[in-house]
């Protein structure tokens, strides 16, 4: 949706379930993207839980989890969404005088708009929704309602199993060949696939150590660090600014991705491009691990045309540093804006190889 078009925004607001407060101090460059202040919507939505007929409770629950940030990561969000749809389909019954495929498609679309209001869709979720709508459209008309529902549910299960679970295992088995003894592996943020690779390599008895690079405001690396250290892997933790300082020790860089676009650009957590750039400057191979269902045919030249804006308040507050209150009342000043980007686009020449469930692809 074009968020810089005032009329469309007004129309969307009237239909909206989630209260969209006016964003203050918008960055001009990103006026075309939705900017919400997420913090105020969660209690509002929680209070409406028992009043919303058209939204299935499991869909509602997943929407709340997205809003609060409990469920994050491309795979996690996609699986949560598909399981919610599975529940919704199970409880679905066709209204009279309506065909199942059309009505169900409309219902799924309404659920998707609800999800978008909670948090903009990730590319993995978009691909999964397209798959589901495709399956619904392809249902033979001769099928009874229960058979159709069962078929759809098994389709969803198959998608999750084949495209995500088994795909991850295949990626791990490919990537394991790239982890040797005495390797120093660097990873950025928290990627589920990279975590699996590191844990599997440790189980196989390879001797390596890991450097976890993290950045504000999400600090996702801390969760990964905890889990790796609990498994007994030797870890170093640092901030993204220090990446050029420690890069000389690193032998390989493993990165996760939210999506890979058709011109080879890797669309991933903000900061990935910087890490890949520094690794490239030091001549260190960068391996990106991504399941094939996340690939997308669009082309993106930079990180500004399409992105997700996070909560700007998080930038002004630094946990644990109460003395740094310079930006406390940032919204009062019209000259000051805070920008919290979620994704960025890494150019293809920084990447040495992508590892997918279809194999390993080298970038020329």
């Amino acid at each position: 949706m074009q968020f810089d078009d005032v009329h469309r925004v007004e129309k969307a607001k009237k239909r909206a379930i989630v209260n969209q407060s006016e964003a203050r101090n918008r960055v001009e460059l990103f006026r075309h993207l939705p900017q919400y202040v997420h913090g105020t919507q969660l209690p509002d939505l929680e209070s409406k839980f028992f009043q919303l007929e058209p939204i299935h409770p499991s869909v509602y629950k997943v929407g709340l989890q997205y809003l609060s940030g409990e469920v994050s990561g491309g795979n996690g969000r996609c699986i949560a969404m598909l399981l919610a749809f599975r529940e919704a389909i199970k409880d679905y019954s066709t209204p009279p005088n309506k065909t199942l495929s059309r009505d169900l498609t409309a219902k799924v679309s309404s659920y998707v708009s609800f999800f978008i209001e909670c948090r903009p869709l990730s590319i993995s979720m978009g691909n999964a929704i397209r798959f589901l709508k495709n399956r619904i459209a392809k249902l033979p008309i001769t099928l009874s309602e229960s058979e159709a529902k069962a078929s759809l549910q098994s389709d969803i299960d198959r998608f999750i199993n084949e495209k995500i679970v088994v795909a991850d295992q295949v990626i791990v088995s490919h990537a394991i060949t790239k982890v040797r003894d005495d390797d120093v592996l660097l990873t950025y943020g928290s990627s589920s696939v990279v975590e699996m690779i590191l844990e599997h390599a440790h189980e196989l008895g390879r001797k390596f150590r890991v450097i976890v690079v993290d950045s504000r405001p999400k600090l996702e690396g801390q969760g990964l660090l905890r889990r790796l250290v609990a498994k007994g892997i030797n870890c170093t933790y640092t901030h993204i600014n220090a990446v050029s300082y420690i890069m000389h020790e690193v032998t390989r860089v493993f990165l996760g991705a939210s999506s890979i676009l058709s011109n080879g650009t890797v669309y991933s957590r903000v900061g990935t491009a910087s890490v890949a750039m520094v690794a490239h400057a030091f001549g260190i191979p960068v391996l990106v691990c991504c399941e094939a269902y996340k690939f997308h045919e669009r082309v993106q030249l930079d990180s500004i045309c399409a992105n997700e804006l996070g909560d700007p308040d998080v930038i002004s507050k630094i946990p644990g540093r109460a003395d740094l209150g310079d930006l406390k009342n940032w919204a009062d000043n019209e000259n000051l804006q805070l920008l919290n980007l979620t994704y960025d686009a890494t150019p293809s020449d920084y990447v040495s190889m992508i590892i997918t469930d279809y194999g390993m692809v080298r970038y020329s």
């Binding site: 960055v27 460059l29 950045s215 504000r216 405001p217 901030h239 993204i240 600014n241 220090a242 990446v243 050029s244 300082y245 903000v270 900061g271 491009a273 910087s274 750039m277 520094v278 400057a281 930079d302 990180s303 500004i304 992105n307 930038i315 002004s316 630094i318 540093r321 740094l324 310079d326 930006l327 940032w330 000043n333 000259n335 000051l336 804006q337 805070l338 920008l339 919290n340 980007l341 960025d344 686009a345 150019p347």
Partner: protein, 327 residues
């Protein structure tokens, strides 16, 4: 110089305990201390400049050892030593010129004294400079031994009547010149911000987008000056973790009415494609052109190089260091 010891130890302690922070303050206080050292120094009769340089060198070593990271200390000490050398050379050149003038006048009345070669002041000055430098091919090939020439001049100075009073005059003059030059150095350190800010208008055009990391006073003054001259520009300030000084800079810029956006350090690569210029302040500038800057600057520089964005470093001359591979 026993009376200087407490002052020197006081300053060394301040440096060790990091009570003095920032290269500007450090450079200024170092220069002032060295000026006091020079003024308190007792000048000997011969080889005054070398003795003075040794004294400064000894003090300088203590200061540098107190805080090796703060390169401004070493830079200031070396500049003072350079000042002493320069003043000595020009002083000697003037002195010899004066002597050769008197020698000529002597010749007029006493034509027997032509065994002394009359050397031009400029030639002697260049030879003196070469003597103070490390021996090079050029100095080795020079056939006029400088020390003998100088000793001839000084002995002739001793021979002439009415020249005994000049020695103390020369002593005081050298000291005076050195102190004046150090005063100039201090003024240069003080006014570096103004001199750099004057050039702001030449580099910032209308509708410019500028990126900076962390907080630098030089950059702040630079941008203020451009704003004064009514240039319209906007600034992206990267936080600069872990000190987060970008927040303070953003607040200061906004108070002057400059459009500012604060971004996280991880978003630098994402935003730099829309940036016209990167302007940063640094801790020190190395002799081979490299810089020592707050952590994260290497990332910004690589990103700027990738996107062909000019990377501008603004720094006062007290930050220019003589090391190549320090630290």
């Amino acid at each position: 110089m026993p009376d200087m010891q407490p002052l020197i130890s006081d300053f060394v302690l301040k440096l060790k305990r990091r009570k003095v922070e920032g290269s500007h303050a450090v450079a200024r206080q170092t220069a002032e201390l060295l000026r006091s050292v020079v003024s308190q120094h007792r000048m000997g009769s011969t080889n005054q400049a070398a003795a003075l340089a040794d004294a400064i060198h000894a003090v300088g070593e203590h200061l540098i050892a107190a805080n090796p990271i703060e390169l401004a200390v070493g830079n200031t000490v070396r500049r003072v030593l350079h000042i002493i050398k320069e003043e000595d050379i020009s002083f000697t050149a003037v002195g010899i010129e004066g002597l050769s003038v008197t020698a000529v006048s002597d010749d007029e009345c006493d034509s027997g004294n032509d065994d002394r070669p009359t050397l031009s002041a400029a030639v002697l000055a260049s030879h003196a400079r070469n003597a103070l430098r490390a021996p090079s091919l050029q100095t080795l090939l020079d056939d006029i031994p400088v020390s003998t020439a100088l000793s001839h001049s000084s002995s002739s100075a001793g021979d002439s009547d009415g020249k005994t009073g000049d020695k103390s005059l020369k002593t005081r003059k050298l000291k005076h010149d050195v102190i004046a030059a150090i005063g100039d150095l201090i003024e240069e350190i003080d006014t570096c911000y103004d001199q750099i800010s004057e050039q702001a208008v030449e580099h910032i055009h209308q509708n410019e987008v500028i990126l900076t990391l962390g907080r630098s006073r030089t950059v702040k003054e630079f941008l203020y000056a451009a704003k004064e001259k009514k240039r319209s520009f906007r600034v992206f300030v990267a936080e600069g973790a872990p000190r987060y000084q970008g927040h303070a800079l953003a607040k200061e810029l906004v108070e002057k009415g400059i459009q500012t956006t604060v971004i996280t350090d991880s978003a630098v690569f994402a935003m730099i494609s829309r940036v016209n210029m990167v302007i940063v302040g640094v801790h020190a500038i190395m002799a081979n052109g490299g810089v020592i800057a707050p952590v994260g600057m290497n990332m910004v520089a690589l990103a700027a190089q990738r996107h062909a964005v000019p990377f501008v470093v603004v720094a006062g001359s007290h930050k220019v260091s003589f090391c190549r591979l320090c630290i």
